[in-house]
């Protein structure tokens, strides 16, 4: 590798490295990681329902007051209203608690972070199998909904807007689910599952029917494992779904995830040119190196990940891409291994094309691309790096392809010079977002 090529490659590594990890460390102090799961089982009950309302009788005036009173397995019902607090559910004594707002109308039970000392709308630490159902969280300095150091959680019917880092976030957890939720305008990613401990007999995390738009990333997954993301929409983000491998968290790389049956489109949001959130250096770049935008799905390193049966269209840099996790200190975890990109539909039947449908630098082994449908443009143009599935053996690394892709990212002050633009189809209720023009509060 010549020196003039090495530097941009490394630079891209840093660029992608910053995609998911730099933000939180700078934003707040998080609970230290511990072994997820208390080993304590399901509480036997009887369980109570504690009510939270501002003016009623037999109500707790604050959500936190009810949580402090609650025992494991209790249900806490929160009335409609604007709740200016940050809620903490901590320790095994609070396991299996159900925190319920209005599952049918999450907009009516709002956690407001503006002016709050608490950095998270809801923070769950070490309390297994907690349910949070039917809330909106907005304007929190760190995250809207955050769970860490647990086995199992259920996040459903949630909306997370304008968080300083992530909208909905699970870190160092085993199993859990995120469903029927929406995240937008978060200054790092809308949704994020990270640092999943490796497990011989894993408990899968299920993500279903979520919508993520207007974020730097729709989904970030640093060192995430055993996650299935399905029946969800990722659009109008800088990049749609990015499982990645970084040293900033334990247990790289991302492994054994399945991304299937999703719609990933129009992820061309140039937040560098303006956004409703503050585009923090930690959240969008490292030093002078920016993140790439215009990307649908990107595997930055990883093993055993499956990307299948997705509709990917209108992403103007790359629809689905994969490249080596260049920055990892642990060389054994850098290479792409056993990843499959197959059965996806690119370009919406030719009506809403990606700039390039597929990109793969050919790093690693046992990786395969295809058959996918609707593929018109791949990079490298020869397609030599992309062998059909199933495939076993070393892949054909293409140094020049990688160097060119690196240049797309680091050699472009506009961030858009390498977009290949096409017309979008019209979609009721959704407007393509390339440059933010205001209106979001």
């Amino acid at each position: 590798m010549s020196s003039h090529r090495r530097s941009p490659v490394v630079a891209l590594g840093f660029a992608v490295a910053a995609l998911a990890a730099a933000g939180p460390a700078q934003a707040v102090n998080y609970p230290p990681p511990s072994k997820p799961g208390t080993g304590k089982g399901k509480p036997k009950g009887p369980h109570r329902t504690l009510r939270v309302c501002k003016h009623g009788h037999r109500c707790f005036p604050r959500i936190q007051d009810a949580i402090n009173e609650a025992r494991a397995g209790d249900r806490i019902k929160v009335a409609h209203g604007l709740w200016r607090e940050g809620v903490s559910i901590s320790g095994s004594g609070k396991r299996y608690i159900k925190l319920v707002g209005d599952p049918k109308h999450p907009d009516k039970v709002v956690l407001e972070g503006k002016g709050q000392k608490k950095a998270n709308g809801v923070l769950i630490n070490g309390a297994d199998h907690v349910t949070v159902n039917g809330f909106t969280a907005r304007h929190y300095r760190a995250n809207g909904f955050f769970v860490t150091n647990t086995t199992g959680y259920r996040f459903t019917n949630l909306k997370a807007f304008l968080a300083g880092v992530y909208g909905v976030y699970a870190f160092n957890t085993r199993g859990g689910s995120i469903t029927n939720s929406e995240a937008a305008w978060n200054s790092d990613s809308g949704f994020y599952i990270g640092q999943t401990p490796p497990q011989v007999k894993p408990i899968r995390s299920m993500v279903r029917n979520i919508t993520s738009y207007g974020n730097v990333l729709g989904w970030s997954g640093t060192n995430m494992r055993y996650v299935t993301i399905t029946k969800s929409k990722f659009y109008n983000n800088g990049a749609g779904i990015v499982p990645n491998a970084l040293d900033s968290e334990k247990y790289p790389p991302a492994e054994d995830n399945v991304i299937t049956g999703n719609e990933v489109f129009w992820n061309n949001f140039n937040y560098y040119d303006g956004a409703p959130f503050k585009a923090k250096p930690g959240g969008t770049r490292v030093g002078d190196v920016p993140f790439p935008i215009g990307v649908g799905i990107l595997l930055f390193g990883g093993r055993g990940n499956t990307v299948t049966d997705n509709d990917v269209y209108g992403n103007w840099l790359v629809g689905i891409g994969a490249l080596q996790a260049l920055t990892l200190k642990d060389a054994t975890a850098r290479d792409l291994e056993g990843n499959q990109v197959t059965g996806n539909r690119l370009g919406l039947d030719g009506t809403d094309l990606n700039g390039r449908d597929l990109f793969y630098d050919g790093n690693g082994k046992d990786n395969c691309f295809g058959p996918n449908t609707g593929v018109q443009v791949v990079f490298p143009e020869s397609g030599a790096t992309m062998v059909p599935c199933p495939f076993t053996g070393a892949n054909a690394f293409d140094q020049q392809a990688l160097a060119t892709a690196v240049d797309w990212t680091v050699g472009d002050a506009t961030h858009e010079a390498h977009y290949i633009r096409h017309d979008h189809v019209s979609k009721p209720g959704i407007t393509p977002l390339e440059h933010y023009t205001g209106g979001v509060k």
């Binding site: 199993g175 011989v200 007999k201 894993p202 408990i203 899968r204 299920m206 279903r208 055993y226 299935t228 399905t230 029946k231 995830n257 399945v258 991304i259 299937t260 049956g261 499956t306 299948t308 049966d309 199933p390 076993t392």
Partner: protein, 360 residues
């Protein structure tokens, strides 16, 4: 599971019906606990015992063989890693969905639906069902040189007990055996509710054929008896297989297992012609029926109007098949018409172990 000498007869069942259906008390050993399944609904006792079986501790070798470590097999050159996603789950299963015995044209009265434990084919990542929750479980296909990579999830959350997948015929290391061995259990022998495990099995040349797989966790007999089984089909590389192929499991569903009032003699979880598989073929077609015994009994598989060579080259039309055994019936179709196929143990065929074979 074996007959319990202390409880030879369920007193809630009349002697005539007992003789008709062959019901009897059975004795299971579940995690070292002996559980008698003699009466209707006794499965609850076995499930409770299975739920008490604790996760085996880290393996302490009792013999040098227990200290051996093994890798994960890879496909042979030119072979594939053939992936399946399969979950263990429960389902309400009608044994006689038409409520009729199509052979005799008479109704089958009484309750026929019970809660089965089954294997279900899922989409990648368990994102959604890819097939019904049914008896038998999905048929897993591969060729010689391939590895079968089976992502198994135990979704038996309500039963709260470990489960596994144990295959026949393919080659595997002890980690991928899928058998509970108490304190000597290897990785794939105890998959707790909510957990997943990826089995990797080699399809070696000697694997060619059709084989069963079934639960071999702590509650293996009860779970297998109530539906946790399926088949593995391994062909030579490039072999397109016969024109008509059907796997038929012969087994009983008895009151202690189902909680129903009577036993059913079943093929693929169903009883009586019109409910059991109806097989169709045309003259000249290469027909293969793979018959597997999946209970405590020996069966004789018979098709009216047909004959074929057994492995010794002798013509037969009623070969025997024992528990866990597969026989393959293969012939070129030459005789149009409506035919019965059935087990030739008379109490079995009279209890529902029969079906239609229709040749155009």
């Amino acid at each position: 599971m074996s007959p319990d000498p202390l409880e030879p007869l369920d007193p809630t069942i009349g002697r005539r019906r007992f003789l008709q259906v062959g019901a009897g008390a059975l004795l299971c050993t579940i995690g070292g606990e002996r559980v008698s399944l003699g009466r209707k609904g006794d499965a609850v006792k076995a499930d409770a015992a299975a739920a008490r079986v604790k996760r085996p501790k880290a393996l302490k070798p009792a013999d040098p063989v227990d200290a051996l470590t093994f890798g994960t097999p890879q496909p042979q050159p030119g072979g594939r890693a053939v992936e399946y996603w399969v979950q263990a789950t429960t389902t309400r299963w009608p044994i006689v969905p038409t409520h009729r015995d199509g052979w005799h044209g008479v109704p089958v009265r009484g309750r026929t639906t019970f809660t089965a434990t089954v294997y279900q084919l899922m989409e990648p990542g368990f994102a959604a069902p890819a097939g019904p929750a049914a008896i038998p479980g999905p048929t897993l296909h591969a060729e010689v040189g391939d590895t079968l990579v089976v992502h198994f999830r135990n979704a038996l959350r309500d039963l709260g007990q470990a489960a596994t997948m144990h295959p026949h015929g393919v080659k595997y290391t002890p980690d991928y055996d899928g058998v509970y061995l108490g304190d000597l259990t290897r990785a794939g022998g105890f998959i707790a509710p909510g957990e997943e495990f990826t089995y990797t099995w080699e399809c070696v040349p000697e694997s060619v054929g059709v084989w069963p797989y079934h639960d071999h966790g702590p509650n293996h007999t009860l779970n297998t008896f109530r539906g946790m089984f399926g088949s593995v089909v391994v062909r030579p590389k490039g072999d397109r297989g016969p024109d008509v192929e059907q796997v038929l499991f012969l087994h009983q569903l008895q009151p202690p297992v189902t909680g129903l009032d009577r036993s059913f003699q079943c093929i693929n979880g169903r009883a009586y012609a019109g409910n059991t598989p109806t097989i169709r073929a045309k003259p000249g077609q290469d027909v293969a029926l793979h018959v597997i015994g999946m209970d405590n009994n020996f069966h004789d598989f018979h098709i009216h109007g047909h004959r074929w060579r057994d492995p010794s080259g002798t013509f037969t039309d009623t070969p025997g098949v024992g528990p866990g055994e597969t026989i393959t019936v293969r012939f070129v179709e030459d005789n149009p018409g409506r035919w019965l196929y059935h087990c030739h143990v008379f109490s079995h065929l009279d209890g529902g172990m029969a079906g239609w074979y229709l040749v155009e």
